[in-house]
């Protein structure tokens, strides 16, 4: 187990971390490429950039936009995302690992904050799953992975919480730490290839919508003409 | 004014004072065995060392400061060059890190900062800053037994021969560095053979830059000659083709259009 832990903290971590970082860069570049291609081929080349930017910011900070409709769900979603980003990146123990290896680190979360945010994230994820099941529209649209993802994302949080805040025996600590590292690495590998890739693709979605899914006013007629059904209702 | 160091192997007691003085003078860091070092004590942070040989022979090893240095002639940017005082010094602002000097040195002296991401070539520079001021190098100053002394090269050669003449039973009748590969500014007299200080026991008296000189001198002739030959061949063939095709179609104009 010691060796497995050492391996997963060393080479396996580097492998999965590189897959995540480069994989995200890759999907971003491929997405941009396809956007440019679509833009190049588009008949109408005007893109409402101002609108795209405001919309993107609105979606990034969905206070105004979403709170109107499902305030509780959005609140939990917000909390979940905040915890998901802040805790792994600014956790003292994680930064210390970087510091040991690279010689520099970033400011860290205070102990109490880390504790609180971890608990909050776990509860928010639970609430999100329940909300997804209870809401008819959501559950109709959901795929299996939509239920699975919050659970998978929770594994490192729960195991990390056990390791960091609960005084467990030495052997139990090892086990939970191994689970913590391995589950996090599984997530790293999956991020660029699943819907979690929205962490970098999100800002592009508005551009995609405006470049690729834009129909000029006379589109209806043209389609009908092509289909030999001129004048038929669309 | 060619300055030099004469090391008398019979007088060296292996106290390493010269090594310590060199370290201090040149601000060299502590050294530890690294996997890329040669086992002769020299390294990027040790510019001089003392080899201990059987029967209490201690031989000081350092850059030989050749009169016609192979390293300086090899360096493509002239980062290594000989000063009027005879020291072969290194200008790290010119260096591009090709390490040809390390390949070219017949004594295997220059060392490299392999562990640095901005590495330089390192070797003894005969304490150039000191000898410019008229002082002697740190190592000769530190030597407690006068085993390694500093002075004008001609004087030191005389001293060396004088010592050999006075004590012919002790010394081997040879001043290492007097003629070898064109002469060096670091001379040795010894009671044992010092062939192990270089890659080959006998290096001859021809300076190494002179081995490349014929090839380098031939460069302009090769350049112009090749051009002339090629142009000539082309002219002949073109003419022949035009002659042969005068009655027929027009000759190819040389493009692939």
């Amino acid at each position: 187990m010691e060796q497995l832990l050492a391996f997963s903290k060393g080479p396996l971590f580097r492998l999965t971390f590189a897959v995540m970082v480069l994989g995200l860069a890759r999907v971003l570049i491929l997405d941009l490429l396809e956007i440019f291609r679509a833009y190049y081929r588009a008949g109408d080349k005007t893109v409402p950039w101002g609108q795209v930017i405001t919309r993107s910011i609105e979606w990034l900070v969905p206070v105004r936009l979403v709170f109107k409709r499902r305030p509780v769900y959005s609140l939990f979603s917000m909390l979940f995302h905040v915890g998901l980003l802040l805790v792994p990146i600014f956790l003292y123990a994680h930064v210390q690992l970087w510091r040991d290896d690279l010689g520099f680190g970033i400011p860290t979360l205070p102990y109490a904050w880390a504790y609180g945010l971890t608990v909050l994230t776990i509860f928010a994820a639970a609430a999100l799953i329940i909300g997804r099941i209870l809401n008819r529209t959501s559950s109709f649209l959901s795929r299996k992975q939509d239920y699975l993802w919050p659970i998978v994302l929770l594994i490192p949080f729960v195991t990390g919480f056990v390791c960091a805040h609960m005084g467990v025996s030495a052997s139990a600590y090892r086990f939970f730490m191994l689970m913590h590292v391995l589950s996090a690495e599984l997530i790293f590998v999956l991020i660029p290839f699943t819907k979690i890739a929205h962490c970098v693709l999100m800002p592009l979605s508005q551009v995609v919508a405006n470049v690729a899914w834009k129909f000029p006013p006379e589109t209806d007629d043209k389609v009908c003409t092509t289909l030999n059904k001129k004048g038929a209702p669309v | 004014m060619s300055l030099a160091i004469l090391t008398d192997v019979t007088k060296c007691i292996g106290c390493l004072e010269c090594v310590a003085a060199c370290k201090k003078e040149n601000n060299l860091n502590m050294d530890v065995p690294r996997e890329w070092q040669k086992m002769d004590g020299l390294s990027a942070r040790n510019w001089t060392s003392v080899l201990h040989k059987p029967d209490n022979h201690n031989i000081r090893k350092q850059c030989r400061h050749c009169l016609e240095p192979a390293c300086a002639s090899a360096c493509p940017v002239g980062a290594l060059h000989t000063t009027p005082e005879g020291a072969v010094v290194y200008d790290n602002s010119k260096c591009l890190g090709c390490r040809y000097c390390m390949m070219a040195c017949p004594y295997g002296i220059p060392r490299y900062d392999w562990d640095e991401s901005v590495p330089y070539v390192r070797k003894c520079i005969l304490c150039y800053d000191r000898i410019k001021e008229g002082k002697q190098p740190a190592c000769t100053e530190a030597c407690p037994t006068q085993a390694t002394i500093f002075g004008k090269r001609e004087d030191l050669i005389k001293v060396a021969h004088q010592r050999i003449k006075e004590n012919p039973d002790l010394y081997i009748n040879k001043v290492w560095g007097e003629h070898e590969i064109g002469g060096t500014s670091v001379l040795y007299i010894s009671d044992i053979d010092l062939g192990f200080l270089s890659y080959q026991p006998e290096l001859g008296t021809k300076a190494l830059p002179r081995t490349t000189a014929p090839a380098m001198n031939a460069v302009p002739f090769a350049f112009v000659g090749m051009g002339a030959v090629m142009y000539g061949i082309n002219w002949v063939i073109k003419r022949r083709m035009n002659n042969g095709q005068e009655t027929g179609k027009e000759g190819n104009d040389g493009t692939d259009e």
């Binding site: 396996l12 480069l22 890759r26 491929l30 490429l33 396809e34 291609r37 123990a93 210390q96 102990y111 005084g167 030495a170 | 007691i13 390493l16 090594v19 050294d31 065995p33 996997e35 890329w36 070092q37 040669k38 390294s43 040790n46 003392v50 080899l51 002639s73 090899a74 360096c75 493509p76 940017v77 980062a79 010119k94 260096c95 591009l96 890190g97 090709c98 040809y100 390949m103 295997g108 490299y112 900062d113 392999w114 562990d115 640095e116 590495p119 330089y120 890659y199 080959q200 190494l208 081995t211 490349t212 090839a215 380098m216 350049f223 090629m230 061949i233 082309n234 083709m241 040389g254 692939d256």
Partner: protein, 622 residues
């Protein structure tokens, strides 16, 4: 469809190699040459010079020999070889420069050759010629891509006007630097084996480069035609091979003649490994290919064309590597084997060049008939994933999806494989310390290299008796021990030892202590929030010892001993008027007289090797 699979499979492999190279290259530029290569002070030139530069330049000779044959000698039948050969040469030179950037210690100074001149140096001349020739090749080749863009037609016609002078200049420059690569080694008669060292090394390099140039054109034609499933020009290849065979013959005469001239012909059959290496090299680089391309029946055999050209390509690369370092082992005594990272970078540089070559073949008018390729065809049907049937996007997108995936995964694998111990040790040998031997007089020689100190333990004991006795030096009582010896904690000769074994304390097989038993619950678990060692190990520190224990990291053996001894000696040197030399190195190391030194040696076992001297530049533990 088969055709595309072959091209795409090759491209996927090449992109994977590039991914590995990127990971290794990053490490090389961040941590330096020592962390990634097996180069050493004894072997400062390795694979990157022997293969990437020496062989790379020779492999790119096809450009100038084919242009000489076609434009100067007017051998019209070789027309189809010209454009690919010039392209190969151009990419080859770019690859050489990129390979050189990896190898140079200060690659950002590569332009220094332009302003700092040393015309005596063959390398200076090579550098200039490579720069100029690469520019010439760019000008020679640029009409081909410019053909695609009608707005640049004027530039193209302008360049076409200067085609013949450019080609002449290219040939002249090639003559110079192909031969000057040989001149590089003229300065090392003391290193290079006599079977390879020769005064006409430049001429040999030039002639072999000409032969290799022809063979490389053949090889490149065979490979690219195999890749894009096209019939290759067996007949023209045979003709080209025939010319090359006679150049090889000239090269053979030059090699053997030179050896005979210097009277070393007997050396070939002495049976030393260098002699056998020479025989193997001559067989695969000259003799066998000469037979293949001279005998008419063999010459027209497609399979033998493959064999012959591959033999020359490998044989000449072998020759360059032999001259570039392999046969110097006898003189340097250092056996160099390239590390896997060096090999990966060399492969990556070639892969990059091949990818650009394939791109150019697909995009530009290099062959009479362009290879049909779905990636370059905007109207090709979209690709679908075979297993899921999912739409993969346009053919270009589908292809780039695949290649980028290969790149990403290969990069990750390379990143994971980087040996972190090699980077963190900074090349420091991890030498375990052996305890001092002896009784009243100890021979302190932790790494057993016989260069140590004869330490009169009894005398020092008596000297300090009035004070704290043992505690003066022995400052720790490690568990189950009292006044522990130096080597118990300072376990490594030159590197720091972690004395507190956290893993052991926390493991079930060790002390099996739960986290909260040491670390205060409700706080960050760090060293500061944990109990002190002395909370459990009551008498860890020796009482009244003047030595302060500050951290859980024990300094290296040499640092620790120098720290204790030198500090005290310096103090005593001032106090005791009759012993002013107490603070000097020879007092302990070596002593003033030859007899004293011999005394030192008496204690040692057989000398293993002479290691560098470590001087008492006392480093304080952090």
């Amino acid at each position: 469809m088969v055709q595309m699979n072959r091209v795409q499979a090759v491209k996927t492999v090449l992109w994977s190699i590039l991914g590995l190279t990127a990971a290794v290259g990053l490490t090389r530029f961040i941590f330096g040459l020592g962390a990634t290569t097996n180069l050493s002070d004894a072997t400062p030139w390795g694979l990157w010079i022997g293969f990437d530069v020496l062989s790379g330049v020779a492999l790119a000779a096809g450009g100038f020999v084919i242009t000489a044959l076609f434009y100067v000698m007017r051998r019209e039948e070789f027309h189809d070889f010209v454009k690919p050969a010039v392209l190969t040469a151009f990419l080859g030179y770019i690859a050489v420069v990129v390979g050189l950037l990896f190898d140079l210690g200060l690659p950002w100074n590569i332009w220094h050759m332009i302003i700092f001149w040393n015309p005596h140096s063959p390398l200076f001349e090579v550098g200039w010629c490579v720069m100029l020739y690469t520019t010439v090749l760019l000008l020679e080749f640029s009409p081909v891509p410019l053909e695609e863009f009608s707005r640049y037609a004027k530039i193209r016609t302008f360049l076409m006007k200067f085609r013949f002078p450019l080609i002449l200049l290219g040939i002249m420059l090639s003559t110079l630097h192909q031969s000057s690569l040989g001149s590089l080694f003229l300065i090392m008669p003391f290193k290079l084996h006599p079977l390879w060292y020769s005064n006409i090394l430049p001429v040999q390099f030039f002639v072999s480069a000409v032969a290799l140039g022809f063979m490389m054109v053949i090889f490149e034609s065979l490979v690219s035609h195999w890749l894009y499933i096209k019939d290759s020009e067996t007949e023209r290849i045979a003709k080209l091979g025939f010319i090359a065979a006679w150049v090889l013959f000239v090269y053979f005469l030059l090699r053997i003649g030179d050896i005979a001239f210097s009277g070393e012909l007997g050396m070939i059959f002495t049976g030393t490994w260098e002699a056998n290496l020479f025989i193997v090299e001559m067989l695969i680089s000259v003799i066998l290919p000469f037979i293949i391309f001279v005998v008419p029946r063999l010459r027209y055999n497609r399979k033998l064309q493959w064999v012959g050209s591959i033999m020359v390509v490998f044989g000449m690369v072998f020759n360059r590597i032999n001259v570039g370092g392999l046969t110097m082992i006898r003189a340097t005594g250092d056996i160099y084997l390239p590390s896997w990272m060096e090999i990966i970078v060399s492969m990556g540089v070639v892969s990059g060049a091949v990818l650009v070559f394939m791109f150019a073949i697909e995009k530009f008018h290099i062959w009479e008939e362009r290879p049909r390729h779905p990636e370059s065809n905007p109207y090709a049907p979209a690709a679908f994933d075979r297993s899921s049937g999912a739409w993969l996007g346009s053919p270009l997108l589908a292809a780039s999806t695949r290649y980028s995936l290969a790149f990403v995964f290969a990069f990750a694998v390379g990143f994971a494989l980087i040996p972190d111990n090699k980077i963190h040790s900074e090349g420091m040998d991890d030498i375990p310390v052996t305890r001092a031997r002896g009784a009243d007089t100890l021979f302190v020689d932790g790494n057993l290299n016989n260069f140590g100190v004869a330490f009169d333990h009894k005398k020092h004991e008596e000297l300090t008796r009035e004070g704290q006795a043992c505690a003066t030096c022995h400052h720790m009582n490690i568990p189950l021990d009292k006044n522990s010896g130096c080597w118990e904690c300072h376990k490594k000769m030159f590197t720091v030892t972690d004395v507190f074994n956290h893993d052991w304390h926390a493991s079930a097989g060790g002390a099996a202590i739960a986290c909260d038993e040491c670390h205060t619950p409700g706080q960050q678990r760090r060293a500061e929030s944990a109990k002190n060692c002395e909370d459990c190990h009551r008498d860890l520190r020796v009482e009244n010892t003047p030595i302060e224990v500050k951290a859980y990291l024990a300094p290296s053996y040499t640092d620790a001993l120098h720290d204790i001894c030198v500090a005290c000696h310096l103090k005593k040197a001032v106090e005791l008027a009759d012993k002013p030399d107490l603070g000097l190195c020879p007092t302990c190391h070596g002593g003033e007289t030859p007899e004293n030194r011999r005394e030192l040696y008496k204690y040692g076992q057989a000398a293993r090797s002479l290691k560098p001297v470590v001087l008492p530049q006392v480093k304080k533990p952090e």
